[in-house]
Amino acid sequence: KKKAFMDAFNQINESLSYYFGKLTGGGKAYMKLENPDDPFSGGVDMIVQFPNKPEILVSGASGGERSVASVAFLFAIQKLNPASFYLLDEVDAHLDSFHVAKLSELLVEESSKSQFLVITLKPEMASRAQKIYGVYERNGVSNIVSATIK
């Protein structure tokens, strides 16, 4: 059991590093066992290092930084057991324009392997999609229009 856990742990760590690097343009992130000799007697910490900043526990990062780290972690755990589709509702709400751009690039890249349905209020995100659905409301009823970009 410990071996199965450590294999998963190491794989996720590798993916986490990859995705976090992509989302931050060079940042580093990794998980650390609180008790390396007996993983199940402790938890798992997550350490992040945003570009040109010192290493910190993810819990000490800002709101937007934690959103970025969460998305990287989500992609990392999914890589172990890929989902056929993703449904992301306003995950970019607290991201600045730099991270929105990075996330949209990553979604374009990953969308060749999985399907992504992304709800967003940000044009910079929506404009990178292959297809956009606009939802609007008339007299208490929702309607949709679609635009295909590529």
Binding site: N81, V118, R128, V135
Partner: protein, 167 residues
């Protein structure tokens, strides 16, 4: 499997007609003003996948998912329906069709009716078939509005449990 189509009829704010959302296998964005119905589409997918908690669909009870009517013409509809059509070319859903269509209707009494490829079935059967394909309404692949930082706000022990649940 990826989602080819989502149909909503009288589900939450998608009233009075059958709304069809056809999707490609790549990156689709859904945008629009506050309150227009974007998150209701997410609720529709969860509903179609067999979600058992109406609160997760932001409703006090399943009958509340039926379009309220816009007060103008007729009375409120007696049911709401969601259809989710999957592309099953990879065969991961253990059904012999290239396309798998699941539908769920909820009536005013709160009861739901499920169908796979048009044939009536039970919620249990749907959950079972989808879970074989790795699809379930509580998966990490579905991130509800306002919950993205949960993955980093968890305690170290909860983080370990997430990894344990994956193996």
């Amino acid at each position: 499997p990826y989602i080819k189509k989502i149909e909503l009829r009288n589900f939450k704010s998608f009233g009075l007609k059958n709304t069809v959302i056809s999707l490609d296998r790549g990156f689709t964005a859904i945008t629009g003003p506050n309150g227009s119905g974007k998150t209701n589409i997410v609720d529709a997918v969860l509903f179609g996948l067999g979600e058992t908690s109406s609160r997760r669909l932001r409703a006090d009870s399943f009958s509340k998912l039926i379009f309220n009517g816009n007060g103008k013409s007729k009375s409120k509809p007696r049911s709401a329906r969601v259809v989710i059509q999957f592309d099953n070319s990879d065969g991961k859903i253990p059904i012999d069709t290239k396309t798998v269509t699941i539908s769920r209707i909820v009536y005013v009494n709160g009861q739901s009716e499920y169908r796979i490829n048009g044939r009536k079935t039970s919620r249990g059967r749907i959950l079972e078939l989808l879970s074989i394909a790795g699809i379930n309404p509580s998966g990490h692949n579905i991130v509800p509005q306002g919950t993205i930082t949960k993955l980093t706000d968890i305690s170290p022990v909860e983080r370990r449990k997430i990894i344990e649940d994956l193996i």
